[in-house]
Amino acid sequence: MKKLLGFFIIGFLVCHSWAFDLNGLDVSKVVSGGAKLSQAVGGLSDEDEIKVGREVAANLAARYGLVEDAGKVRYVNLVGQAVVSHCDRKKIPYHFGILRTSEINALAAPGGYIFITRGLLNTLKDESELAGVLAHEVTHVVHRHIVKAIRQADLVGAGQDLAAATGKDVSQYSQFSDFSINLLSNGLSRDDELDADKGGTILAANVGYDPSGLRRSIERLAAKQQADVLLGRFNKTHPPSSDRLKLIDKTLKQNHLTDKGQRLSDRFKKNLSS
């Protein structure tokens, strides 16, 4: 009986080892992929970043739909462009869209494609809060957080050379955009999110908005129930609100951003009321 069991175990292992047959794949090419693609992404030009960003933005447009109300879209773009006029990366064009979903979130694709969801827009009370949220996203683009994440991801590099090794034609942009789409869904690093909070708060203040706009919007969301299904992805992709509020308070204090700028609640309501 022991012999029978032994045969059974050996047979089981042999059968399952077939499942990992690499079909003659050149493993050395696969292993070298990470380093090669890291170099490629390190030299990603603005033009290439915009191409990747377009793919990501078109994906978000397909998955959620875009709000096409001309007045609302123009207003969000005016606030966004006012923010951009004070940022450190003005060479690329920026586009601000509203995603047609009740989910509460905002996203920055590479290359200047920035989105806020209708759900988040509905929770905001004035223009300084909208500017704070958009300034947070603009900071992600200015500091090239997604490009940095692509550069650090060895898996994408392995995938690139995997394609070469198997003779399949998988474009580099497709690899980068797939990675970026998943990254936006799973969240950037905690450090990058906090960096965007800090940069966004200062940026909105430089435009002349109340520097506490972003802080108030985060505080309001923190007061909502954590179990709120509409906040699912927001909670998943951002650090805890308590950490964010602490960092923003520190930023306000260190940069002496105590002067109250513009809140513009009337203009906000006039432009976004349905």
Binding site: L5, A57, N59, Y64, N77, A82, R100, S102, R233, R267
Partner: protein
């Protein structure tokens, strides 16, 4: 008597082990058969179905987008979907310099 009992116990154990091996082999073969068989489309009731059933209507873009986003929260993201036509309409929204200046001035911004 003891010897007879031992023999009975041994034979009972052998039967149990044989049954276990037999069941395992059957399970393995069914797994491999399932791997070979073409995947059949199973209709899973989604939030979108519930919305459509409730409304008694065909899916529309608005509800699809909203519900799809929520469904994705805990599921896999469709990385292949693209809507370049909608994106191009957004890209055509251009804010001109004078319009931005007036917007900034009206809001007493910098």
């Amino acid at each position: 008597m003891r010897t007879a009992n031992r023999l009975k116990l041994r034979s009972a154990r052998s039967v149990q082990i044989s049954k276990a091996v037999g069941i395992s082999l059957l399970m393995l073969s069914s797994v491999s058969l399932a791997d070979d068989a073409p995947a059949k489309h199973k209709h899973k009731l989604t939030l979108q179905d519930l919305v459509n059933n409730a409304a008694g209507s065909r899916p529309e873009a608005t509800s699809v987008a909203g519900v799809r986003g929520l469904e994705e929260t805990n599921g896999a993201v469709d990385t292949k979907a693209r809507d370049f036509a909608a994106l191009e309409r957004l890209e055509h929204v251009v804010v001109h310099g004078d319009e931005l200046e007036k917007f900034i001035e009206d809001g007493k911004l910098h």
